[in-house]
Symmetry: C2
Subunit: 100 residues, 2 copies
């Protein structure tokens, strides 16, 4: 299993960003081909005060090859275009493997 993680900072125009995230970005993410699971957290705070983040997305795939295929698919390119349109300066992405 491989998990692609995307972490979105909270922009100053929070309402507009959240609307785009929920109504456009999330439906695009759900279309990743070969997706094993998609988990989304709405950030509600931090142990020490506020958090600079707004959302955390975890898209899990059965293998690294499946993740790479999803990212280079038509649907993956639509996600990348959408990120460039609304979240390029707010997103940090990485991938990882679960530790038992």
């Amino acid at each position: 299993m491989v998990t692609l993680v995307a972490l979105y900072k909270r922009p100053s125009d929070d309402g507009e960003f959240e609307k785009h995230f929920l109504e456009i970005h999330l439906p695009l993410l759900r279309q990743f081909p070969g997706l094993h699971s998609l988990n989304v957290l709405r950030v509600t705070g931090a142990p020490l005060g506020e958090s600079k983040f707004s959302f955390l997305v975890e898209a899990s795939f059965p293998s690294r090859a499946a993740m790479d295929a999803a990212l280079s698919s038509r649907e993956g390119k639509a996600v990348a275009r959408d990120i460039m349109a609304f979240a390029a300066e707010y997103i940090t992405a990485f991938h990882g493997e679960p530790i038992a």
Copy 2:
């Protein structure tokens, strides 16, 4: 459900940090009282090159009250002390709620 997320940057002395994370920090995290689930990702890279992160931890609790109780418990204080000892400058923590 509430998830406490901790994201650890990769320090320059990666081997020592990883040893402490796996052999001391992770066993302490598993002792959080009231834990619903604990997921740990070892970061393996990023869609565009390297990632500055090394590990992602998600500790889920049935409620905000359960998370707060875990953080202020004896075991939670042991986790906090351990963070101060090895990861204070590398960790970012926040909590969030799953979006259906």
